[in-house]
Symmetry: C2
C-alpha cells in the first residue's frame, strides 16, 4: 500500500473544498471580520471541525472515521498550493502596507510554498514552514511555477471558488474533492448548480458520510 | 488542516484490514503458494487493487474516489509496524535458513521498521527503506519496542487476524479500519461474527462505498 509513488505527472488537486447543499462556497461582501462574507463558514466546515485531525482543534478527542480520513488527506503528497487573492486577504487594490499575513495565525496549515495570485505583488514571507509568494500570472503559468516549487509532488488548488472555476475552465484541474454540507444558503458565490455540471470532464463518485456530509470525488 | 500534529500519545492502529462479508480474514492451510490459505485474497482486496494508489499497480489509471483516499491513508503518520509471524512467512518452527525475506519483493510497502513477532528470532535485515526486526515478545512489550522505533508517530498493527485479536484482547488497539468485501467465504479465520462485536470497546462508524466495499472505522 502507498504513498502514491509517482513516476506519474504532478497533478493539480482541489481538496476539502466546502460548499452548501445548493452549491454556495462563499458569500458576497467579504470583509476582515467575515472572510466568507454573509456565509457562516462554520455551517460548511462543521463536519471537518468535529474530526480528530482538524488542525484548529483545541481539545483532544474528535471523530476518527470517514470524515477524519478525508481531513487528514489534505497534505497527502502535496508540495505547493495555489490560492486566489480573496482566499489570502479581504483587501482589494494595492497594499496599504504589508502587515497582513493571512487568516491563519503564526502556523498556517499549508506547510509548503503557497502562491497567491494577485495583481498587487509584494515580497515573499514565511510563517512556520509555510512560505507565501505573490504572483501575477494566469492559471497556466501559475501552475508551472507551483509545480516547479512542489518538487515532484502534486499541487493543491486552494480556492476561492472564483479561482477554482477559472482553473477548471482552463482545463488544468485533475481532481477535486468537494464536501457538500447539509444546509442550503440561497445566495452567494456558487461552485455549481449541481455536481452533474462536472461529469462531462471527470469521473465522479459520491458517498454520504455518517455526519450528513456528502463527499464528491472527481478525477481524470 | 492536518497532518494530525500530535502532542497526542502514539496510537496503535489497524489499517486497511480486509475481511469477507462473513468476517473471514484468512483461510486455513497457509502455504508458500497460498499466503491466505484457501481464501483468495483477490476477493477481499479487489476494491483496493482498483485504486490509483495501490502500490502493486502496474498500469497507470485507477480510481481516485473514496477507496483511493483510504488506501493512500495506509502510511499516514505511521512510524513502525507490528506483524505476526504468519503474516511474514508461511513457515513454522525454526528457520531452516534465512533466505525468506517476506512476500513483498525488493521494496516492501511499509517504509518503516517492521517488528515480526516470533519464537524463532533471526538477524534484522533491510529491503528498500523497510527494516524487518524479529522479536520474541508479548503484545505489551512489542508495542513499547515499536513505539520507541516509531519516533513519535503511530504504530500500525498489520495482522494477521490472530495477532489483531490478541492485541484487542490485551486492550492495546486504539483504532481499526476494517474493509468488508461483498463475498461470503464460509470457513476460515474470523475477525468477528459481526462488527457489533467491537462496539463495547470502540466508537463505530461505517460507510458503504461505491465499490460495494463497506468501510468500518472504530476508535477510542
Amino acid at each position: 500500500m502507498p504513498s502514491s509513488t509517482s513516476d506519474r505527472p504532478q497533478r493539480l488537486r482541489v481538496q476539502n473544498f466546502f460548499v452548501s447543499r445548493d452549491g454556495v462556497a462563499a458569500g458576497e461582501d467579504q470583509s476582515l471580520e467575515r472572510p466568507f462574507g454573509h456565509v457562516d463558514p462554520g455551517k460548511l466546515a462543521a463536519w471537518a471541525g468535529a474530526t480528530a485531525s482538524w488542525p484548529n482543534r483545541t481539545d483532544p478527542g474528535g471523530s476518527r472515521g470517514l470524515d477524519d480520513r478525508i481531513v487528514r488527506d489534505f497534505t497527502h503528497n502535496i508540495g505547493a498550493e495555489i490560492m486566489g487573492s480573496h482566499k489570502f486577504s479581504p483587501f482589494r487594490g494595492p497594499w496599504e502596507n504589508e502587515d497582513w499575513t493571512g487568516w491563519w495565525g503564526d502556523d498556517p496549515p499549508f506547510h509548503t510554498p503557497v502562491f497567491v495570485l494577485t495583481h498587487h505583488t509584494r515580497p515573499s514571507f514565511s510563517l512556520g514552514d509555510t512560505t507565501f509568494h505573490f504572483l501575477e500570472a494566469g492559471p497556466g503559468r501559475a501552475l508551472a511555477v507551483a509545480q516547479e516549487a512542489a518538487d515532484g509532488k502534486d499541487v493543491r488548488l486552494g480556492g476561492g471558488v472564483t479561482t477554482v472555476l477559472e482553473f477548471i475552465a482552463a482545463d488544468l484541474v485533475d481532481e477535486l474533492h468537494i464536501a457538500v454540507a447539509p444546509p442550503e444558503i440561497g445566495s452567494g458565490l456558487r461552485l455549481w448548480d449541481s455536481p452533474a455540471d462536472l461529469e462531462d470532464r471527470y469521473e465522479h463518485e459520491s458517498v454520504l458520510g455518517p455526519s450528513g456530509t456528502e463527499h464528491h470525488f472527481f478525477w481524470r
